[in-house]
Symmetry: C2
Subunit: 200 residues, 2 copies
């Protein structure tokens, strides 16, 4: 029943098992023994691939920081000055991404709370870029005279906060989704409130 895998395959399997555990229990809350068990191998194998537990964790954070272009559809809408489209794209992307990979948000929070050295890189690639994209769009639309004159960065954080908080409730606090509202409807509501609220 035991199968022998290539180095690459086994390494990936270890990483996958570790992602699951680290995201659920944090760095300190996860033991190398558990990771080995989850991957169906001996502890020693982990240390053949990663010098230390911390190195394994860092490899995960760096991998998760690789930034697929989340902002493609939003950037498209931005070029056409489609305000609703931009907000919708940003909101949906966050929803979709979190749904596809729920470990991401938990890892990000854990690494920040536990003060991991790479958490800033993680934050930079996953959060800051989004804030910057949206706030510069808002700034542009203020200059166009379409939005009220507000602090663009604070406003951007406000919109992102609606969505992030909503996801936080599920992924971290285990609140069940309102049965009536699909992610699309929720984003639509946040978008419409925010847009109506910021338009001149």
């Amino acid at each position: 029943m035991k199968e022998r895998l290539s180095g690459e395959e086994r390494r990936q399997q270890i990483v996958d098992a570790a992602i699951d555990l680290f995201s659920r229990k944090g760095f300190r809350g996860t033991t190398t023994r558990e990771i080995a068990e989850a991957a169906g191998i001996s502890e020693a194998m982990i240390f053949k691939h990663f010098a230390t537990k911390r190195e394994l964790y860092s490899a995960i954070i760096e991998a998760k920081s690789e930034t697929e272009e989340l902002l493609a559809s939003a950037a498209l809408a931005a070029r056409e000055k489609d305000d609703a489209g931009v907000l919708r794209a940003v909101g949906l992307k966050m929803m979709e991404q979190t749904e596809r990979d729920p470990s991401l948000m938990r890892l990000l929070l854990f690494s920040a709370l536990e003060g991991h050295e790479l958490s800033e890189i993680f934050f930079e690639s996953r959060v800051r870029r989004l804030h910057e994209f949206l706030s510069s769009y808002i700034r542009e639309r203020i200059n166009d005279g379409r939005f009220r004159s507000v602090d663009a960065l604070v406003a951007a954080r406000g919109f992102i906060g609606m969505t992030v908080h909503y996801l936080l409730m599920h992924e971290v606090f285990g609140v069940k989704r309102p049965p009536r509202s699909s992610p699309e409807e929720v984003v639509e509501l946040f978008m419409s409130i925010f847009l109506k609220g910021i338009e001149r």
Copy 2:
């Protein structure tokens, strides 16, 4: 230099030291040795007051769950159907509370992420009540015909999310506050966007 305190005083001192450490490093990331050192006593003293480390942690969570009436000023504004006043009061209260006691938010997050058994009670007293208060106010104003017909709970989460996310950025991710905006101004902006966005 060593002073002998009464049981009550010492107990409180242990709790204070533990709050600081648990909020910065989590339950698993904090050792009883560290707590003892921070309180300037021997480890054994901790176990004279609390049977286990977990019991100490639980005592803290329960204490932090004691719910001072956060909603007094908001409830007042609600009675007068002062929409701006309600939102402002809710937003400011969160800001002020977090500023006064930054450990609260981190403890709440840590306990939820680490899956502590009492984290639900904590969440209930600190978060859910706020959501329920605000969503029922919004529902009321929808019935009054003053707000658009939206999902009141989702909308409430949206507003709270703006503020919570803003605080999360500082307290957890260490983002520096925008130098131009005071907490009052930030709340004022969130309030105005949300209110304008949800009014009929």
